[in-house]
């Protein structure tokens, strides 16, 4: 069990992390997801013990490892956790073997045990043939593997990753994703993984914590985030393609989208609000209909036998997934038809309306 209780982190007057609470069971794969500057890396560094929280507690398996309220902290090395840095932070003057072995030496493991363990993890990550090379002599993907091998060698109970795949090219990234999930199954360690890439989060995580501006937006399984987004930020940040979020303005007794009246029925008490439509619920028409909006076609791309269509009007950007590409050229007008009711409603403050 890994618990984060009311964690707040202030740098001077700036609040990087604001009152975040969540808990995952042992062996979970928790992804901290959010745009850059949302506080996810700060939270990870607090888990690693490199920063101390300004308030709140971090609890690993029932033991408090950081307590911002009482200024209490367990040394980074004594938390039974390991961190893979974004830059990998391989020690350039040590060979691959040296990099993996040194933490074990520091941990006072016997020589025989050490040799066995180093061989084991190098094998596990398929880099045993690189054991005597130096970090500058191997590729970025291989460096990544060495960094992971170094981190898992002391068998930490909690594995922390700081955007580990962001420096790899697209193909390698997909491979390493699979590799990391295999590793997670093999070690069984509780894993906390920071990324801004929602695809990584959706494919790898058992639990996702979406953060923005230092606040926890939503915490749940990938499917929960997709099916029931709690904030408009989550609704537009998660999912491929992202959901469409359309401002709805109350006009007399009815509602307007853009300049057009629409037969919509938001929850009773609200005035202006946001309506979320899934991309697959939209249709692209060549003629105007009761619920369509005339927009400029800006992008079309084929995805898995279907076509993703993006259109733009007055700063509103809508994306639809359709079976057949519209017979219209880029720059011309298409009519984006909305379904009768949105998937859900959000207030202008971003909170979901029920």
């Amino acid at each position: 069990m890994l618990e984060i209780k009311n964690i707040t982190k202030r740098f001077g007057t700036f609040e990087a992390v604001k009152d975040v609470s969540l808990a995952v069971p042992s062996g979970a794969f928790l992804v901290l997801l959010g745009p850059s500057g949302c506080g996810k890396t700060t939270l990870l560094r607090m888990l690693a013990g490199l920063e101390n929280p300004s308030a709140g507690q971090l609890v690993f398996d029932g033991q408090t490892v950081s307590d911002g309220d009482r200024n209490w902290s367990v040394d980074p090395a004594k938390r039974n956790s390991g961190l893979v840095f974004q830059s990998y932070a391989l020690w350039p003057h040590m060979s691959v073997r040296g990099n993996v072995e040194w933490p074990l030496k520091v941990g006072q493991m016997s020589r025989a045990e050490r040799d066995a363990r180093v061989a084991e993890v190098l094998e596990l990550l398929d880099i045993h043939q690189l054991a005597n090379r130096y970090p500058n002599e191997i590729s970025g993907g291989q460096q990544q593997r060495v960094a992971i091998a170094r981190t898992i060698a002391p068998r930490p109970g909690v594995l922390l990753f700081d955007e580990p795949l962001s420096n790899l090219d697209a193909k390698l990234r997909v491979e390493m994703r699979t590799e990391l999930m295999r590793l997670h199954r093999a070690t069984g360690a509780t894993t906390v993984y920071v990324t801004h890439d929602q695809i990584e989060a959706m494919t790898m995580a058992t639990h996702v914590a979406v953060m923005n501006h230092g606040r926890l937006q939503q915490f749940g399984t990938p499917n929960e985030l997709l099916d029931r987004p709690e904030t408009s930020f989550v609704a537009t940040f998660v999912g491929t393609p992202p959901n469409n979020m359309i401002p709805v303005v109350k006009n007399g007794s009815g509602y307007k989208i853009g300049a057009k009246h629409m037969p919509l029925h938001p929850p009773a008490e609200v005035q202006d609000c946001l309506a979320m439509f899934r991309a697959e619920a939209l249709h692209v028409r060549s003629e105007e209909s009761a619920t369509s909006l005339p927009m400029e076609l800006v992008e079309m791309s084929a995805i898995a036998g279907r076509t993703m269509v993006t259109a733009l009007a007055d700063g509103l950007r809508l994306t639809a997934i359709v079976d057949d590409p519209p017979q219209v050229r880029i720059g011309e007008t298409v009519h984006m038809e909305l379904p009768p009711e949105p998937a859900c409603w959000f207030g202008l403050d971003g909170a979901r309306l029920h």
């Binding site: 367990v74 090395a77 390991g82 500058n136 068998r155 509780t190």
Partner: protein
Amino acid sequence: MADAAMSGPGRRIYFRQGTVLKLVVLAILVALIVLPLLRTVLFTLQSETVTAWSDVLTGRLSTNLFYKPLGNTLIIGVIVSAFCVLIGGFLAWLVVMTNVPFRKTIGVMATLPFMIPSFAAALAWGTLFRNDRVGGQIGWLQGMGADIPDWLAWGMVPTLIVLTLHYFSLAFTIIAAALATVNSDLVEAAQIAGAKGGKILMGIILPVTTPALVAAGSLCFAGAVSNFATPALLGLPVRMQTLSTRLFGMIEVGQVSRGYVIGILLVLISGAFLWAGNRIVSGRRSYATITGKGGRAKRFDLRASRWPLFLVAVLVLMAATVVPVIVLIASSFAPSSADLFANWTLHYWIGESSPDFAQGIPGIIHNADIVRALLVTLALGCAVAVTGMTVGLLTSYTVARYREGTLSAAITQISFLPLLVPGIAFGAAYIAYLGAPIGPFPALYGTFALLVIAGTAYLLPFSVQTGRAVIQQVGGELEESARITGAGFLRRLVSITVPLAVRGLAAGGLLVFVKIIRDLSLVVLLFTPTMPVLSVVAYRYASEGFAQFANAITVIILMISIGATLIANALQTKSQPWLKN
């Protein structure tokens, strides 16, 4: 997750991370830098010494004590910095932006004058240009039959020339670095827009490098006004005083409080100019750091003026480096500087004492005073290199690791404070600070420790900068990842930080070593016969008329400096074995 049981207790954190380290570093810096300066100011404010202020500023003697030297100092500062920026800028432009022949050689030569101690050129000038006005030996040119007028032999003109030939290399380094970062795209964009050479220079290159020009000018100004050796050797014999020679004279004759007042005023003047320079360029700095994609634009084609401009550059560089070195070496063999290249003898190097020669002063290797000075100087260089790099590394580590907070800002500011303080004023401050016992600590005047402490403090801006470069090499995450494994501070230092930083540290240490062994202005006041250093011994011999000994000692300093600098360069550039591909 079976083995996830927590082991080891936590600990209470009484302070924010780094607070203890920051306080320790701050305390060291305050003790090394702030207290001496403060103590000097306080000394002049005591009831029996406070009259020194009115003596210097308004009293009957103030014209001679302060205003005339001030005038000379300002003339030196303004003219020297103007010429330094002109010459340094011209050479930098030639080397970085044109197709002048032997660009690289010119570039290396232009950085050399700063390796030569500033008194070397002054001594060489004397050896060449002395006339018979003040008695003693005459220089080579007079000896060859030329009639050297007083204005060329002594006083302001030679001081200006010698200082310019010393400090232009500082301007060159700064301006060349700025020119090198002028993105070739900028120049190409101007060319595409139709601008020609002159327009590009005036419209693009000059505005972009203005911050560097101003910085170079203000640093040369600060250097020139605080220089002691040159005006002392070339100006004092004809009673031309600057603030630094005045300060030296006051302390030598025991008018300590007047000396301190002059020192404080000198600090304020050079500080004001550096501050003003900084002020002018602040906010415009960001110009020069636009990242380029490498690949320099076509060099500016000098066409027919390639060789003439090359000759001009060579002339300046010869005058600044080769000629002084040759003159010094020749003079250390020649019994008479009037006839520099005749009757050479090794007496000044290896001769036994003989009444026929130099009033019985034995040659260098038999001269106990000089040998002792050599040993003290080398020991001082080593000691300051070690202490300087230690404090510098600690300071830059602290500031790099814990950037936020007023404590860090204070540490940074204080560590660069000595830049504003001329060496001779710093020396005076240290006499005020440690010259008398403080509480249980004995007075340190005349001890090796005083030289080491003062040298460490004086060179701190330099060692902190070097330390910062080293810290950048080691990188925060490399150290953090070691910390996570549980390695303690010492173990991290031994296994990670030092192996990665050792070359940078050694190179930095060597440069500190060079700076301290060729320094005269700081140690000239701290010098005592029991604790002699080479540069001061050379200065004494020169002012007593034994030019050969002065020059021979200067040659020794020069050789050690150049050797150490070359080793430092090799260490810095030689790639580390694990970085080889």
